[in-house]
Amino acid sequence: MSEFQVLSEAVIKGDVNTALAETRKALDAGSNAQEILDNGLITAMNEVGDKFSKGLLFVPQMLRSAKVMQECTKTLQPFFQEGDVTSKGKVLIGTVKGDLHDIGKNLVSMMLEGAGFTIVDLGVDVHPDKFAEKTGEVKPDIVAMSALLSTTMPSMPQTIEALQKAKLRDSVKIMIGGAPVTEKYAREIKADAYGSDAGTAVNKAKSLLGID
């Protein structure tokens, strides 16, 4: 781990120039991309996530770290080899039908991405059939739904129903969140998890997929 100490610190600090330079330096020195990703970048983001959940970091600081990590991952991209595990899992995410709010959904997306997940973002006002169609297409591990309004919450069970009809419900885990959503509601509509905020959403996503 110590060989990527400077890289990790740069990610934690959100210093993109140093982080990119360190990533290149590590590649030049012969480290493989998977190692740099796991021991430099993801290690750093785990620490960032940990500090954030303890209230030691603010949201923009955490997002800056996520952005730095993504930049570094782009640099690593051409060097990944077959068999490398570059993603913790794929999350299909969207704001449900009838709802056009996306700040919360975008925040969750960025934090999941920062934690190493691959995100397929369907945007806002996503019809249940669209969720189902895209689930069949991109084969995500998790389908994540957001709603800000009480009146649009019913689109969540409708989406789950659409996934059932398409016989895709059992192939994915379902996560929901948003201001009016509760743990109880998640149970009622038989979602697999409820994230009360973006940080919790990341932890729930990890535990749904059995990642510590």
């Binding site: 603010f58 949201v59 923009p60 056009l100 700040i103 009480s150 009146t151 019913p154 009016p180 905020d197």
Partner: protein, 482 residues
């Protein structure tokens, strides 16, 4: 001493000078011209294009400053809200201020158990009834999205429940053009007809655009409906600093005002001269929890700034918030945050001040919190009235009488005290100033407990003037699904 008549100065808060106000307004106009906005309602888009806006990429609109100026000229500078009996109780003009509750909370604190639970329709009724009985709360909002009615009609049911439980003006939420039409039907029943409602509106709609710069179809439906029916409306957006808008308050205000101006322009195009309440919601997105804060100093500061912009530029009555908190229970934080926003909103003369009684950044409503706020508003009002200085209040003769009088002369015994103390002093009802032993003997209660008891008393004793059976039957018909 011969006393000249001295006008009473009423303390007032100013946070922006004219140059700052003009600069923020200029930035808002620049946003509308250069960045433009997304208008998703076909009819509104057409009206804007016809009026001289440039439309590109289907629904991207750029608005010239001239349209804004025209709308600011045609919108009424003052308008009144009436109670449900037809009395003018809210005159939205100049620096008149009015407080009321908020809407859309998911949870409420149960009055009996103290537990946070999902809100139900009965809670909407309880809040409206409490508002009806509290002298310093001037209008009712639902305070809850009830769990026990069909979700497509929650706003309709909430409105009907409020009508049954208060005679005060109602600020209401609707989902779209569909339910607002039914809510309007109920309002017409109460007012005695469409014309009567238009002459003496007791309702005001609250709708929201989406920051940054997005105007959804259902929101515009409500705006146009209100403009055409002359129902007062306000259309803030969630331009909270760091969330829907730039993190810096100047930029967040400029964006929020730009969004409001779009609403105003569409509104005036759809119904020239219809009443519009101006004002964005510029709070902050908390940088740790990412909640939109209901207790932060920033929101109070931006609405004080908006009051200055009203005075310098717009002349339209404004929308504001106060009496809420981010605390999860009604604790010291709740008291501090509630008082901070209540007194600053009053000192800056915001006009319609809503959200009184919210805990947990607007996610939970509390009857005790509304009850406490009622008293905090009274305290603030006393302060804001200033000090009357005249012969009677200077009371030189009284001082002469007591100080120069015989032994045993005390002010407390003087007739002047007896005649003036009720006006000269703020007389608290729930704030406790009793001596320690008295307080202990009376159960050693804290303010939360006293507010709980007072809310219970009010709900069991306060009589709301019942609606006629004709109105109630009409409501039942409107609520019956077809």
């Amino acid at each position: 001493m011969k006393q000249m008549e001295v006008p009473t100065f009423k303390p007032r808060l100013k946070v922006l000078n004219r140059e700052q106000a003009l600069a923020i307004h200029g930035a808002a106009l620049e946003i509308l011209q250069k960045t433009g906005f997304k208008m998703e309602h076909g009819g509104a888009l057409e009206m804007l294009a016809d009026a001289g806006c440039r439309v590109s990429d289907k629904d991207r609109v750029s608005m010239p400053a001239k349209l804004v100026e025209e709308a600011l000229t045609s919108a009424p500078k003052q308008f009144a809200l009436y109670d449900q009996k037809g009395n003018e109780v809210i005159m939205l003009a100049d620096g008149n201020y009015y407080y009321g509750t908020g809407s859309d909370a998911t949870f409420t604190i149960d009055l009996d158990t103290g537990e946070r639970r999902r809100a139900v329709l009965k809670d909407v009724g309880n809040f409206a009834r409490l508002v009806d009985g509290l002298e310093n709360i001037n209008f009712a909002m639902s305070m809850s999205n009830p769990e026990d009615v069909p979700v497509a009609d929650i706003y309709l049911h909430a409105f009907a429940e409020m009508v049954k439980n208060t005679s005060k003006p109602i600020l209401f939420i609707a989902d779209s053009g569909r339910d607002i039409a039914k809510i309007y039907q109920i309002a017409c029943l109460v007012a005695g007809g469409e014309k009567e409602l238009q002459q003496k509106p007791f309702i005001l709609n609250y709708s929201e655009a989406i920051s940054p710069l997005r105007f959804p179809e259902n929101v515009m439906e409500k705006l146009i409906f209100c403009a055409q029916k002359k129902i007062p409306i306000c259309l803030p957006s969630g331009s909270n600093a760091g969330g829907g808008a730039p993190v810096t308050l100047g930029g967040a205000m400029a964006l929020g005002i730009a969004e409001n101006l779009v609403g105003l322009v569409v509104h005036q195009l759809a119904g020239k001269g219809s009443p519009f309440l101006f004002g964005p919601n510029v709070s902050t997105l908390d940088m740790k929890s990412s909640v939109v804060s209901y207790g932060c100093p920033e929101w109070s500061l931006t609405q004080a700034a908006l009051a200055d912009m009203r005075d310098e530029l717009y002349g339209l009555p404004i929308w504001a918030y106060a009496g809420a908190t981010d605390a999860k229970v009604m604790d010291a934080q709740a008291g501090a945050e509630a008082m901070f926003s209540i007194i600053t909103a009053m000192l800056s003369r915001a006009n319609i001040i809503h959200d009184v009684g919210f805990l947990e950044y607007g996610n939970t409503s509390s009857l005790e919190m509304v009850t406490m706020a009622n008293e905090l508003i009274a305290m603030s009002r006393f302060f804001t009235e200033g000090i009357t200085v005249n012969e009677d209040t200077l009371a030189l003769e009284v001082t002469e009488r007591v100080a120069g009088g015989g032994p045993g002369s005390i002010f407390l015994m003087d007739d002047h005290t007896f005649e003036h103390f009720m006006q000269a002093q703020f007389l608290p009802k729930l704030i406790d100033r009793s001596r320690y032993d008295t307080w202990e003997g009376a159960g050693a209660t804290d303010l939360y407990q006293r507010c709980n008891a007072e809310a219970r008393r009010m709900l069991s004793e306060h009589q709301v003037e019942p609606k006629s059976s004709e109105v109630l039957e009409g409501i039942a018909r409107i609520l019956t699904p077809h």
